[in-house]
C-alpha cells in the first residue's frame, strides 16, 4: 500500500480520524506492507500541550509521501530538552526540529499584566530573544534543520484600544518576531513558521478555547491541529521533495473567458470589467510566479494564428509570447502536446503542472500521464487565482537570483534555439550570441549561490564535492584558497553565476572544484574559466596546475574536459591531470571578458 494513496482514501479531517489513520499506518508499516518515498525522523518541541500533533503531522506528511517518525518533548520541557546535550531529544537524533514556543508561557505573569509598572517589558524582550537565540544556536550548530514558530501577538489587553499604540507586550512580541526573521536570513539551518499569521488566517478568537486551556493547558483548539500540521508539513515538502518547475496552461476559458475561435479578439473576456478582471488578475498572479522562476508553457486546442494574435495583441493580455518557454497550439490531443513540451524544454513530466478548465482534458492527462500534476480547476473562474495559490506545489526554502530568473531564462532559451537553427555552424552561432563573462574572486556576496552550484551540479562537475554555505565562506576567508566564479550572459539574457572553480594554493596549485552549470554547456565557457584561473596562478608565480577528475555515474560529459583544456596525464591517484602554465593560455574569442 502506498502511503499517499492510503491518505487520499482515508478520512483525515478530525483528530480521531487522524489518530486512527496513524494507527493504520503503524500497523501496515510493521507488517512491511507500506511503501513511501522517504522516511524522516523529526521532533516537535513545544512549550504548551500539543497532544495530537504527532498524529496530525504524520497524516499531513503522508500527503507528500513522507513517513514520519516523530518525537514530542514532554510537557513544558522544551528548554531542558534542547539545552541538555544528553537529552532524549538528541538520542532520538532528529533531522528536523519544529520549535514551537508560545507567548503565554514565555511571558508568564506578564501576559495579563504587561502594563504593571513593576515589570520591565524591555528586559523581558531582551531575555526572550536571548533564550530563543540560545535554543536556535544549539540546534542549528548540530546541523538540525530548525523551524521556529513566530510568537502570537496577543489580542487580549486591559489597555484595550490603547494597547496597539503603547510600547507594551504586543509591540515587544512584534519586535521579537522581526528579530527571528532576521536570524533566518543569517542562518542556513533556520526557518521561520509565521504562527501569528497562521492564527490570523483561522482567527485568534476561533482558535482559542478557554475551557481546553484551563483544563489541559491547550493553546490551539484541537480541531485546528490538522491545518497547523498541514502548514508545517510544507517545510518537510520544501526540504525533501523536488518542487514543480513548470506551469502548463490552456487558453480558452483558462487565461481568458470565452473561445477565441468563436468570439474573436474583441469578444473574449479579459480586461477591466468584473468578469474580465478575474482573468486579468489570474494572469497577473501567473506572471508573478514566472518572475519568481516558474517556467510557463501553453497547451491549447486552437488555430495557432488566432491564438498567438490574441496573446500578442489583445490590449489586456498580461502574459505575452515572450513569457512562454514553449508553446503547443494545435488540434492534437493534450497528452501528446505535454510530451512534446517536456522534450522541447528538456524537463521531466513530473516537474509539470497542468491547468485546464476542461474536465475531459484533465482526466485524459491524469489517466495517461500520472506523473503530471493536474489541477482540478473550479467551475467558477473567480476562484482560479486562489486555487493555484493554494496548490503549494512550488514551495522552496530560498530563492537565489538564478532561481528567480529561471522562468525567464527558459523563455530566452527558446529564442536561442531559433538563432541556432538559422546559424550555419557552431562557431558562427557562438559568435552571434555575443557572450560576455564576468569573473569574481573570493566574492563573499554570493555565498548562497556558490554553495548551491556545488550542491546541484552533477554533469559538468570534475570532483562533485558538495559544500555548505559555511564551508564556502571558510574557503573565501582562507588565504590558501581562491574561489573563482563566472557570470555569463549573452544577447538574449543573463545566465547568472554558472561557472565555479575552487583552487587550493597551499602546497601546490590544485583544482579542488571545477564545474559549469548545464545551462552554459557547449559555449566554450570552460576555456574562459580555465584561462582566468591560469592567469591568476601565473601571477602568483605558479608553474603547474593540478586537476582531479572523479568519475560518477552522472558526469560523463566532463570526462574528456581536462584533455580538451590542454591538461596532460599526471601519475597521482587523486590529482590525475596537470596543466603546464609555461605556455600562454588563450581566452576564447566568442566570449568578451568584462570587468
Amino acid at each position: 500500500m502506498d502511503l499517499t494513496d492510503l491518505y487520499n482514501k482515508s478520512k483525515t479531517c478530525s483528530i480521531s480520524d487522524q489518530v486512527s489513520f496513524s494507527r493504520q499506518v503503524d500497523d501496515l508499516n510493521k507488517k512491511r506492507e507500506l511503501s513511501f518515498a522517504l522516511e524522516k525522523r523529526i521532533a516537535f518541541v513545544s512549550s504548551s500541550t500539543m497532544n495530537g500533533i504527532k498524529e496530525s503531522l504524520l497524516s499531513q506528511c503522508s500527503k507528500h509521501n513522507i513517513l514520519l517518525d516523530i518525537f514530542v518533548t514532554e510537557y513544558n520541557q522544551f528548554a531542558q530538552a534542547v539545552l541538555d546535550q544528553s537529552s532524549e531529544l538528541y538520542a532520538f537524533d532528529p533531522e528536523v526540529v519544529f520549535l514551537h514556543l508560545d507567548t503565554r508561557t514565555l511571558a508568564g505573569d506578564l501576559f495579563l499584566n504587561s502594563n504593571n509598572t513593576n515589570f520591565h517589558i524591555d528586559e523581558w524582550e531582551k531575555e526572550t530573544i536571548s533564550l530563543m537565540s540560545t535554543l536556535i544556536s544549539i540546534l542549528t550548530k548540530r546541523g538540525i534543520k530548525t523551524v521556529i514558530s513566530s510568537l502570537e501577538v496577543p489580542h487580549i489587553s486591559s489597555l484595550g484600544i490603547l494597547e496597539s499604540s503603547s510600547n507594551g507586550l504586543r509591540q515587544s512580541v512584534r519586535r521579537i518576531n522581526l528579530d527571528l526573521m532576521t536570524q533566518c536570513n543569517d542562518n542556513e539551518y533556520l526557518f521561520l513558521f509565521d504562527y501569528d499569521l497562521f492564527l490570523g488566517k483561522i482567527g485568534k478568537i476561533q482558535s482559542f478555547d478557554e475551557r481546553l486551556y484551563y483544563l489541559a493547558d491547550m493553546r490551539l483548539k484541537p480541531s485546528y491541529l490538522s491545518e497547523f500540521a498541514a502548514d508545517l508539513s510544507l517545510y518537510m515538502k520544501a526540504f525533501y521533495v523536488t518542487p514543480k518547475k513548470c506551469l502548463v496552461l490552456d487558453l480558452d476559458n483558462t487565461l481568458w473567458g470565452g473561445v477565441i475561435g468563436e468570439s474573436g479578439l474583441d469578444g473574449i473576456q479579459l480586461g477591466p470589467d468584473p468578469k474580465g478582471r478575474s482573468f486579468m488578475e489570474f494572469q497577473q498572479y501567473i506572471l508573478s510566479l514566472h518572475n519568481r522562476g516558474i517556467i510557463l508553457a501553453i497547451n491549447s486546442k486552437n488555430n495557432y494564428d488566432e491564438a498567438i494574435n490574441a496573446i500578442n495583441n489583445h490590449p489586456h493580455m498580461v502574459l505575452r509570447e515572450e513569457n512562454f518557454a514553449a508553446i503547443e497550439i494545435n488540434w492534437d490531443d493534450k497528452v501528446k502536446n505535454l510530451k512534446s513540451l517536456a522534450s522541447e524544454m528538456n524537463i521531466g513530466l513530473d516537474s509539470m503542472v497542468f491547468v485546464d478548465d476542461d474536465e475531459y482534458n484533465r482526466e485524459m492527462v491524469k489517466e495517461f500521464l500520472p506523473e503530471v500534476l493536474v489541477v482540478d480547476m473550479p467551475k467558477d473562474f473567480s476562484m482560479y487565482l486562489s486555487t493555484i495559490d493554494s496548490l503549494d506545489c512550488f514551495v522552496t526554502l530560498n530563492l537565489t537570483k538564478e532561481d528567480l530568473k529561471k522562468g525567464i531564462m527558459y523563455a530566452e532559451e527558446k529564442q536561442r534555439k531559433t538563432l541556432k537553427e538559422s546559424s550555419t555552424n557552431l562557431t558562427n552561432y557562438l559568435n552571434l550570441l555575443q557572450m560576455k563573462g564576468v569573473f569574481k574572486v573570493d566574492d563573499n556576496q554570493n555565498i548562497k549561490r556558490i554553495s548551491q552550484l556545488t550542491q546541484k551540479t552533477n554533469q559538468f562537475n570534475m570532483t562533485t564535492k558538495r559544500y555548505s554555505e559555511q564551508q564556502i565562506e571558510d574557503f573565501i576567508l582562507d588565504d590558501n584558497y581562491h574561489v573563482i566564479t563566472l557570470d555569463l550572459s549573452d544577447k538574449f539574457g543573463d545566465y547568472g553565476t554558472t561557472g565555479l572553480a575552487i583552487v587550493d594554493c597551499e602546497l601546490e596549485y590544485r583544482l579542488d572544484t571545477f564545474l559549469l552549470s548545464c545551462r552554459i554547456l557547449g559555449r566554450n565557457a570552460e576555456n574562459a574559466l580555465m584561462s582566468e584561473i591560469a592567469s591568476l596562478i601565473k601571477n602568483k608565480g605558479g608553474k603547474v596546475l593540478l586537476g582531479s577528475f572523479i568519475e560518477t555515474d552522472r558526469n560523463q560529459v566532463a570526462r574528456d574536459a581536462f584533455e580538451k583544456l590542454g591538461f596532460d596525464k599526471n601519475d597521482d591517484r587523486v590529482y590525475n591531470w596537470k596543466l603546464s602554465l609555461e605556455r600562454s593560455y588563450s581566452f576564447p574569442d566568442c566570449i568578451e571578458r568584462v570587468d
Binding site: 483528530i15 480521531s16 489518530v19 497532544n51 481546553l212 483544563l215 484541537p222 480541531s223
Partner: protein, 80 residues
C-alpha cells in the same frame, strides 16, 4: 440515526474501540484509551456532532457515558 447510536458511534471512533463494547458504564477507569487527551477530543467532537457548547463544569462532571447522556439531555437532546 438515533441519538444513542450517534453517540456510541462517536465514542467508539474517538476511543478506537468496537461500538459493542460501549455501554452507559463505560468510563476512563475501565477503558484504557479514554485518557485525558481523548476526553478533550471527545468534547470537541460531541459539540460539533450535537451542535452544543458545554461549560467547563459540565466537562469536569463527566465520569462515564451515562454522565455524557445526562449533560446532552439537559440541552434537549433526547435519548429515549
Amino acid at each position: 440515526m438515533e441519538n444513542k447510536e450517534k453517540l456510541y458511534h462517536l465514542i467508539s471512533h474517538v476511543l478506537g474501540i468496537d461500538v459493542t463494547e460501549i455501554n452507559e458504564e463505560t468510563s476512563p477507569e475501565n477503558t484504557q484509551s479514554w485518557d485525558s487527551f481523548n476526553a478533550l477530543v471527545m468534547v470537541t467532537e460531541l459539540e460539533e456532532c450535537f451542535n452544543v457548547t458545554f461549560t467547563m463544569d459540565e466537562i469536569e462532571s463527566v465520569r462515564n457515558v451515562r454522565d455524557i447522556i445526562e449533560v446532552l439531555s439537559s440541552y434537549a437532546i433526547s435519548f429515549d
